[in-house]
């Protein structure tokens, strides 16, 4: 059995423990089995491991104030002992100077190219629905939530409040036009934790302006031959800016 057998909630910082090598062989294997089947944990593992990958590749001058050129006292590493032991202290400043050139180039690249890229991307955060989910309410109050899309809009994230009975159920969602035509076909969604909304990202830019509804269904009954049950319908309108 995959993830269902592992109670991740009772293991705080499991991802960190795994990547720091603090789990035993058996626990590691169980967690691997889990995160290969779990959306949330796989994202966490990928994020943390990419972070360590990048940290590993960054020039050490960025994380250490100065390379060890003039700070000899705590000579712990083999190369420090080697240099100091052979009178190589003279060479250390030269080594540091040589090392400083590629480091400076890397830092310059980072500041001139990478960080501006990041800032540009972060500028997108103000776009509605790009980052903060848009809360869609069930079709019971006569109001329709507008989702404004413009030329730069791609996917939009929505948060759906589900009835408590949906927790743990096998769910699917689909988007229908006002005319009842399925414009985004039914797709499976993982059931959120009991107190959390269902978060769905969908390609809003592919929908023409108009009225739609997102339908969330319980799929469990399919096994017994009963059609999926409509849990809730969430109307929304696509509006172009």
């Amino acid at each position: 059995m995959p993830d269902e057998t592992m109670d991740v909630a009772s293991h705080p910082r499991l991802t960190e423990q795994y990547l720091l090598g603090e789990l035993g062989e058996r626990e590691s294997a169980r967690f691997e089995e889990h995160f290969f089947n779990c959306r949330i944990c796989s994202d966490e593992v990928i994020a943390a491991s990419q972070l360590l990958n990048v940290a590993r590749k960054l020039p050490r001058a960025r994380t250490q104030e100065v390379p060890a050129a003039t700070s000899a006292p705590a000579a712990r590493t083999w190369w420090k002992r080697l240099f100091l032991g052979t009178g190589g202290l003279v060479w250390i400043p030269r080594f540091a100077a040589l090392a400083a050139v590629p480091m400076a180039l890397l830092i310059a690249y980072d500041r001139a190219v990478l960080l501006p890229q990041v800032r540009d991307e972060l500028a997108l955060r103000d776009r509605p629905g790009a980052v903060d989910p848009i809360l869609l309410r069930p079709a019971t109050r006569g109001k329709v939530r507008q989702i404004v899309v413009d030329a730069g809009t791609r996917n939009v994230t929505v948060a759906l409040e589900l009835p408590g009975a949906a927790a743990g159920a096998t769910l699917s969602a689909a988007v229908e036009s006002e005319a009842g035509q399925e414009v985004i076909p039914r797709f499976a969604v993982a059931s959120p934790r009991p107190t959390e909304p269902l978060i769905i990202q969908f390609p809003a830019h592919r929908l023409a302006p108009g009225l739609y509804q997102m339908i969330v269904r319980a799929e469990d009954r399919k096994q017994s031959g009963v059609p999926p049950l409509d849990l809730r319908r969430y109307p929304f309108a696509i509006v172009t800016r």
Binding site: Q17, F35, A47, L51, N53, L114, V131, T170, F187, I200
Partner: protein, 192 residues
């Protein structure tokens, strides 16, 4: 069928019948499969084969992909809901074979240590986005924490590291956790 969520760091993406579309050789689905499971496999394989060069891991990943896709296309994936477990199982088996030089998978060119691998962020164009976000996340740390995290990444002895920096093991976890959360927020913004 449960959704296979691809495009890491994201919230749910509308993906239905993933295995079915993989069996139909849908190109986009294949790319999503490689992107998502490639990252997960590399994490596991690196942990299980310490000291191996990047291309060793990459060869195992590619062989795993080939076997998984062959199995999918010949209808040998019996439990699509446990597709992740299936991919992991194949990856571990291929790793065992590669480590012992067994089976039909033989490593090639193991001596070319300088060959760039996809786990080398600079070598992987697709990772550039994550590289930039991770660099930004690391920039947000205090210099001392950054140094500590880099030492962790370089597989320094954790106990010695804790002693040197005057921190505890839980501190390492918290540090990695905070940096990871920051990266996830940055990536969510970028994927928006």
């Amino acid at each position: 069928m449960r959704a296979i969520v691809v495009g890491a760091f994201g919230v749910q993406i509308a993906e239905a019948d993933f295995v079915q579309r993989l069996a139909a050789r849908d190109r986009e689905t294949e790319q999503q499969f490689a992107a998502h499971f490639g990252q997960l496999l590399r994490v596991v394989l690196r942990r299980r084969s310490p000291g191996r060069p990047p291309h060793f891991v990459e060869d195992v990943v590619q062989e795993t992909f080939a076997r998984v896709l062959a199995a999918v296309q010949s209808g040998r994936v019996r439990e699509p809901d446990s597709f992740g477990s299936f991919v992991l199982g194949v990856g571990v088996k291929v790793l065992q074979e590669a480590s012992h030089g067994e089976g039909r998978f033989k490593l090639v060119g193991e001596s070319s240590l300088d060959r760039p691998g996809p786990d080398d962020p600079e070598a992987d164009v697709g990772n550039r986005e994550i590289l930039a976000a991770a660099a930004e996340a690391l920039e947000g740390l205090a210099p001392r924490d950054r140094e500590l995290l880099q030492e962790v990444a370089l597989d320094a002895d954790k106990d010695e590291l804790c002693q040197r920096f005057g921190v505890t093991r839980p501190h390492l976890r918290v540090l990695l956790h905070r940096a990871k959360e920051r990266l996830q927020v940055l990536m969510a913004h970028r994927r928006g």
